[in-house]
């Protein structure tokens, strides 16, 4: 097996639900290697988002360990988490989440300190070179999501985490978006985890997991 980029083992996370403790993640293990695109599916509230938040260094697990590129990270302080998110992880959110007051290329250059020439090149690859100087409000839904994808690829992070990246797109554009993530993972040897509801794109991913009652089951 290739190099492991994301390693999660024995992850437990529970929330207070009224007076009871509800276990959202019950000893979950997930390991994603370089050059691999993994999808996590499951009903709403099954813990997919919590899993992604823990993998993305935004939430700490109650138990278990997270390792990124072979380095254990869950015990590090908050400040280090922020730095790790910037350097090691590329995020793709539902509804693009671009900053409205920055142009497409500034989302990468100003926010992440990406090189301008490299940004233009990346935009060319994703077919959005013509929108580089436009603000998000002037872009179509598909263009916005592709700018958001470019942002996730810009720092050359080895791990890409996508939260419902096709949610606001039609099926054709949704497929294109997943293909871009798949291509990035395969060609640049990155690991990608995608949480999705969209059954139509599952043929593009390498492995599919189903989240049910706090357990992660390979499909």
């Amino acid at each position: 097996m290739s190099e492991t980029i994301l390693g999660m083992s024995g992850i437990v996370k529970s929330y207070a639900d009224g007076e009871e403790q509800r276990c959202v993640l019950d000893h979950v293990n997930l390991s994603v290697g370089a050059g691999e695109l993994v999808a996590v599916v499951g009903p709403s509230g099954s813990g997919k988002s919590t899993l992604l938040n823990i993998a993305g260094m935004m939430l700490s697990p109650d138990e278990g360990d997270v390792a990124i590129c072979g380095r254990a990270v869950s015990h590090l302080p908050q400040r280090a988490w922020t730095k790790l998110r910037r350097e090691q992880i590329g995020f793709i959110f539902q509804n693009h989440q671009l900053l409205p007051y920055l142009t497409a290329e500034e989302q990468l250059t100003v926010m992440l300190g990406a090189d301008r020439t490299a940004t233009r090149e990346l935009f060319g690859e994703l077919g959005i070179a013509n929108v580089a100087t436009k603000h998000p409000a002037q872009l179509s839904g598909g263009e916005r999501q592709r700018v958001a994808i470019a942002r996730a690829f810009a720092t050359n992070a080895r791990l890409i985490l996508a939260d419902e990246p096709t949610a606001s797109l039609d099926s054709e554009r949704g497929r294109q978006v997943v293909q871009m993530i798949r291509q990035e993972a395969h060609q640049r040897n990155k690991a990608a985890v995608m949480v999705t509801h969209d059954q139509r794109v599952l043929d593009l991913v390498d492995r599919v997991f189903r989240m049910e009652d706090g357990k992660l089951i390979a499909v």
């Binding site: 997919k48 988002s49 919590t50 992604l52 938040n53 993305g56 935004m58 939430l59 400040r79 922020t82 730095k83 790790l84 998110r85 910037r86 350097e87 992880i89 995020f91 959110f93 539902q94 509804n95 989440q97 900053l99 409205p100 007051y101 920055l102 500034e106 100003v110 926010m111 992440l112 603000h135 942002r151 985490l161 939260d163 419902e164």
Partner: protein, 360 residues
């Protein structure tokens, strides 16, 4: 800073409104500042602009030159002690009128020695000569239609005075000053009141105070100005309003930004999620507040300066650069302090909410 500026310019309509409010309120603050100094000068400029460092008054005069009087013996001793470093000063509120008119005009007579150091600088006409019957007026009398060479009449005594010169910026207790020689002053007193007792009110001293003369009290110029009727009360009231308004404006900016930033929680969450440090996010907020406050202060300062130049001379409005600078710097500082409320809130935003659509 770059991010802060980009957001300000992108949402320029929203921030322009905030800026306009800041400019108007700061303009009001500076207007009050100008009024404080202007009114202060209207009360005290006659004393303030004197080359004297201290005054010697009679005992029990409560620091008021108008009610003070020195005995001949005391005055003689002071003359011996100080030589040319002393000069007499009499002050009397009265009325005068143009020769051709019955209309009385408020005036404060300063009786001085034309050869002493209290003789005012004139910008038109000459100084007082040693003789009687001459007067130098503050230029506010020009607005009342009195010209150089005219003859005015002291209302109570009927003594005629020839206007030999005009001087600037000389007021005492909101009333413009007229300089006459001590002899003229006494002549008016004797003609107006048969019981008049000729005595020097006070003596102005230039330089350091020497030995104390029995039965007299000496005060610095600042003490004399402070004790002028109405001076302290006016200054305190308006200064308090000025600083209160400044603080309120700064807090209003803080509140505006608090509300604006509350609406941007999702954006801040995303920024944090993609690895922007809380320090950088806070810096963005603080620099936005700084830009709005500093720009507003600068524009308001420009407007106030322009207005100061446009106002007529009789308006008690005077901007003191040092006082303006202090209030503007304090304003920017308090604005930044009030922006810390926004910073504290934004620092607590949890980036984990971005995933899973909690922000939608």
């Amino acid at each position: 800073m770059r991010l802060a500026w980009k957001e300000l310019t992108y949402n320029w309509k929203k921030y322009l409104l905030v800026e306009i409010i800041v400019i108007l309120m700061m303009f009001m603050v500076l207007f009050l500042s100008g009024l404080v100094s202007g009114l202060g000068r209207a009360v005290s400029s006659g004393i303030e602009t004197m080359d004297a460092s201290a005054f010697v008054l009679g005992k029990d005069s409560e620091k008021l030159i108008t009610v003070s009087s020195l005995t001949d013996a005391q005055y003689k001793k002071l003359q011996d002690e100080y030589g040319s470093r002393q000069t007499p000063l009499d002050i009397q509120r009265a009325y005068l009128q143009k020769a051709s008119s019955d209309k009385k005009i408020d005036v404060t007579y300063f009786g001085i020695d034309p050869a002493g150091f209290l003789a005012p600088k004139t910008y038109a006409g000459t100084g007082l000569s040693a003789g009687k019957g001459e007067v130098i007026l503050d230029d506010a009398f020009q607005d009342k239609g009195i010209k150089l060479g005219d003859t005015v009449e002291d209302s109570s005594s009927g003594v005629k005075l020839k206007v030999v010169g005009f001087t600037k910026d000389k007021m005492y207790g909101h009333v413009s000053v007229a300089y006459v020689s001590v002899d003229t002053f006494d002549a008016m007193g004797e003609r107006g009141n048969p019981m008049y007792q000729k005595a020097v009110h006070a003596v102005a001293i230039s330089g350091r105070l020497a030995a104390h003369v029995k039965g007299t009290e000496s005060y610095t110029k600042a003490q004399i100005v402070e004790a002028l009727p109405g001076y302290k009360a006016e200054q305190m009231t308006i200064t308090m309003v000025e600083w209160l308004l400044m603080a309120i404006t700064a807090v209003i900016i803080g509140v505006f930004f608090f509300v604006i930033n509350m609406q941007k929680e999702q954006e801040f969450g995303v920024m944090k999620a993609i690895g922007t440090s809380t320090a950088k996010v806070s810096c963005t907020i603080v620099s936005q507040v700084f830009l709005i406050a500093a720009l507003g202060a600068a524009i308001a300062c420009g407007l106030a300066t322009a207005m100061s130049a446009a106002l007529p001379a009789s308006m008690p409005f005077y901007l003191v650069p040092a006082q303006v600078a202090v209030v503007l710097v304090a304003f920017v500082a308090v604005s930044i302090l009030s922006s810390l409320a926004s910073v504290a809130r934004v620092a607590r935003i949890d980036p984990a909410k971005v995933i899973g659509g909690d922000f939608q």
